[in-house]
């Protein structure tokens, strides 16, 4: 039984933590939000690329480090802990994974090395309206190799150079790579709950689009990409949730009320103990997702949904209860609680809400039981 990360992987995680503590302190995240920018710290992004993190799981033949998904999970956990304002998830978990999963050799050769170097920033465009993304919910259409439609929200849509877009072709959903610098693309920045992560409404009018994967396979591929992204995001969520627990604990030890630390009151202790329980469950489920992703196991669809459901629950719980432990101070702009509160909502919704993933999990278990 070796259900743990290796010493080398743990060392990578430690290194990433130190790196982000130096390059991405909470004050910097807050300042970025105050500036009302596109939720993108260009200096941090450049430094991350220099570290090679964008290529951690991309094979060496495509310019990556070819380390593997366990290493990428270690990095993801630290990015989540630091509430990093970067397009890392969009470019690496969504765009690069789409290309790795469904791209032709030519597409891999064209896009992956540039993802690693940061020459391109990728993202995914799927949602168009309120409610879950399904084959029926999309109107965007590709005809004669040209995409028309509107995607909203597109994470990092103001800074991305390329997007994988879910659109219909001949009435059936497919995935398409679109160069966002092409004529016919217009972008409007959106005001987001999590202002540390930018997004846009992106409109396409007869924009050249190249298909990724087989025609009509769009939903299958979209689901498969989101499973992979869900595992990686689960690590960001676990990292964020543990940070919330640490913040809450620290505050409870140092904040005195009625003559003693509030951490001595059971109302607070039990809240933090429950947080520890949910975080521990989420970590276990995330580890299983990591194993399934790294070995491309047949259990991945269930493991990914389990990791997602557990991590979304843990992070939201930790983020909201951390605010509560901090009392009035937790509701101020200057204290860091809200950074995680916002981010837990953002990660919990990108790639689909908790209820969507719970339904995915149960239907996948049913299919396994029936098999």
């Amino acid at each position: 039984m070796n259900f743990d990360f290796s010493d080398e992987q743990k060392a990578l995680k430690d290194e990433a933590r130190k790196f982000l503590a130096a390059k991405c302190p909470p004050d910097r995240v807050r300042k970025l939000m105050e500036e009302g920018s596109s939720g993108h710290d260009a200096d941090l992004w450049a430094a991350i690329i220099e570290q090679g993190w964008t290529g951690a799981a991309i094979p060496e033949e495509h310019g990556g480090l070819g380390l593997g998904y366990l290493e990428l999970c270690c990095i993801a956990e630290e990015l989540g802990r630091a509430v990093a304002p970067t397009p890392f998830a969009s470019s690496v978990y969504f765009f690069a994974e789409s290309v790795l999963l469904a791209g032709s050799d030519a597409q891999k050769a064209a896009y992956l090395p540039k993802i690693v170097t940061g020459e391109i920033i990728g993202t995914q465009g799927s949602s168009e309206k309120v409610g879950p993304v399904t084959a029926e919910s999309i109107d965007a259409e590709v005809s004669g190799g040209k995409l028309s439609g509107v995607k909203v929200p597109v994470m990092d849509g103001m800074i991305a150079t390329h997007a994988v877009v879910l659109a219909k072709e001949g009435g059936k959903p497919g995935l398409f790579i679109v160069d966002l610098s092409a004529d016919g693309v217009s972008r409007e920045q959106l005001r987001m709950m999590d202002a540390s992560r930018g997004a846009a409404k992106v409109s396409f009018s007869n924009v050249p689009a190249e298909r990724l994967g087989e025609a009509g396979e769009g939903i299958t591929l979209f689901d498969a990409v989101n499973d992979r992204a869900a595992v990686l995001m689960a690590f960001e969520q676990v990292g964020g949730a543990d940070m919330c627990l640490e913040m809450g604990r620290e505050y409870a030890l140092n904040r005195f009320a009625f003559g003693r630390p509030i951490g001595g009151y059971q109302a607070i202790k039990h809240k933090l103990a429950d947080m520890y329980c949910k975080n521990t469950l989420a970590r276990g489920n995330a580890y299983y997702g990591a194993w399934a992703l790294n070995t491309n196991a047949s259990e991945l669809p269930i493991a990914a949904a389990g990791a997602r459901v557990s991590a979304s629950d843990a992070y939201w719980n930790a983020a909201k209860e951390n605010v509560q432990v901090h009392g009035g101070m937790g509701f101020t702009w200057e204290v860091d609680c809200h950074l995680h509160y916002r981010r837990s909502q953002q990660i919990g919704l990108v790639a689909g809400s908790a209820r969507v993933w719970k339904e995915k999990l149960v239907s996948r278990i049913e299919r396994r039981n029936a098999a």
Binding site: M1, D4, G264, A282, G284, Y288, V309, K358, V362, I365
Partner: protein, 411 residues
Amino acid sequence: MDFNDSPEEAAYRAQVRAWLEANAPRDAKGASLGDEDESQMDACKAWQATKAAAGYAQIRWPKEWGGGGGTTMQSVIFSQEEARMGVQLGGPFAIGLGMCIPTVMATADDETKKRFVGPAVRGEEIWCQLFSEPAGGSDVAAIRTRAVKDGEDWVINGQKIWTSGAHYAQYGIVLVRTDPDAVKHKGLTMFWIDMKSPGVECKTIHQMSGARGFNEVFFTDVRVKDSQRLGALHDGWNVSIITLMNERASVSGGGGAVGGGVNNILKAAQKVTGADGAPLAQDAALREKMADWYVMSEGLRFTGMRSLSALSQGKTPGPEQSISKLVYASMAQDIAATAVDLQDQFGMIRDEGVAAFHGAFQEAVLGSPGSRIAGGTDEILRNIIAERVLGLPGEIRVDKTMPFKDLPTGR
């Protein structure tokens, strides 16, 4: 990251599996032992003796004490394989070997150890643990059972409660108050006791579920010798910590079915029709709960695997397993209540012959409150996580400085 045995572990597992194939009793049902059903006791004792003869009874213990001289990991592997074979006959010995005998081994003289350890390992003698009292459950140190010195003997009077197996145990360890003038934690002493001593009376407790798994044990002028003392006089609190630490040292197998019982509920809900004529398994609210329970069950299973991984690599597991009972007990109650709710008016029926699923969920509704209390209440477990794992301050205590006899007691 993988789920594979190391070569040594795989070899040990193969050896254990072969031995179990050859020796395990085939018809072992593994009923839990209450006073209503002791029919399994002979099978339990026979199996324990068989294991002891082969060195599989207490695998981690030194061979000189009847153990197997093995590692914790080997012990876990044996338990996993035993469970895989469906053999569950260790219940009557769990408290003795998990708590009482380790306490004896840590505190008693050689003669006493020689007398008791071997028979306990071989399942010849069963032990019970007499700590809890009507006035001291979560607050174990609040016990009032008195021992008064009379010549070379001690005379015990008082009452214990929630004592598992007291009605079939031959021996017990009992925590009593020897100095009521001292502060609460300083006036306790531990003894071993023969459960057949004159003045010891067991009475089973009728639980809300109707089962009778625990006992009240009454002590009326029970005489024990000073040589039966375990540890120093008035040092019983520290001795009891040895006992309880041994309980917590046990690491769960990290095994169990994928998704715990959730898979079975899902399958069952596919066979029952709701008000709209569709299978209950299609109910959206139920499906959300199923997903929550599934990730809780799996989260616990994976948490066990993380602890096992540390053991497997010769490291000390982290505190992560401290969440297990707290998470599991409430979930089990929630699952049972939801399953009964789904049955609508039929949910009220406990009658095995009429109720859905032979009344299994009704039994679970009635039994599940016990799990949230036994072995540490939800609230005590949260305190333990908060204080020992997260390092938060303990409660303000009013019982640490004044003599025990002066403490307020309520009714």
